[in-house]
């Protein structure tokens, strides 16, 4: 009887190959990095930009002229 050789099936590591833990870490680090660059860094830049040339007295005078204050007309 002729016997043909079959390729040996994968015997070990089936669950660990399914459980791509490295891919899981990469996805979660990617999420965190995305949040940092989409939300956290723009917020820091927005505050730095706002306060770079902020004149509080000018702001106060504009609010006073717009009658926003009760005690400073």
């Amino acid at each position: 009887m002729a016997s043909s050789s079959l390729t040996k099936p994968q015997m070990c590591g089936l669950l660990s190959h399914h459980f791509h833990i490295v891919r899981a870490f990469i996805v979660s680090l990617g999420d965190a990095t995305f949040y940092m660059f989409a939300v956290a860094e723009p917020r820091k830049k927005a505050y730095a930009y706002f306060y770079r040339n902020y004149d509080s007295i000018k702001d106060f005078e504009e609010m006073r002229k717009a009658s926003m204050f009760q005690s400073a007309r």
Partner: protein, 178 residues
Amino acid sequence: MAYPMQLGFQDATSPIMEELLHFHDHTLMIVFLISSLVLYIIALMLTTKLTHVSTMDAQEVETIWTIMPAIILITIALPSLRILYMMDEINNPSLTVKTMGHQWYWSYEYTDYEDLTFDSYMIPTSELKPGELRLLEVDNRVVLPMEMTIRMLISSEDVLHSWAVPSLGLKTDAIPGR
């Protein structure tokens, strides 16, 4: 101030509140990292029929999931403590204002130079003029100088109240007798 469909904090108008905003971003980033990792692992676990039948111990993974949370907690604690100590900075206030909580209004006392006391009642929604802010407008507003350190002494005449200005990052409970 608050605005419709708001998800996060109000815009910061004091340095401490700015620090708190950035700290919140830092901590939320860590929360997303952990949550997405856990969700991904749950999804992987639910999409296989394979089972590990020869598990005897799990020394490696147990070491990792002890050390990594400790590192994450330290990463959260260090900026948190920095802001905590920043909030306790001793400075010399230029003005002292006392506020007493009542049911249901605040009274303010400016006694540094003269005796000035007034009550501050919320304007009911039915009496608001166009353009006024619901639940925020009062008849006599508390007036504070800008860009100065102010000492607020907060107490209550009856029950527990709480005095807060979210955009300055302030909130203190008004406790009767304290």
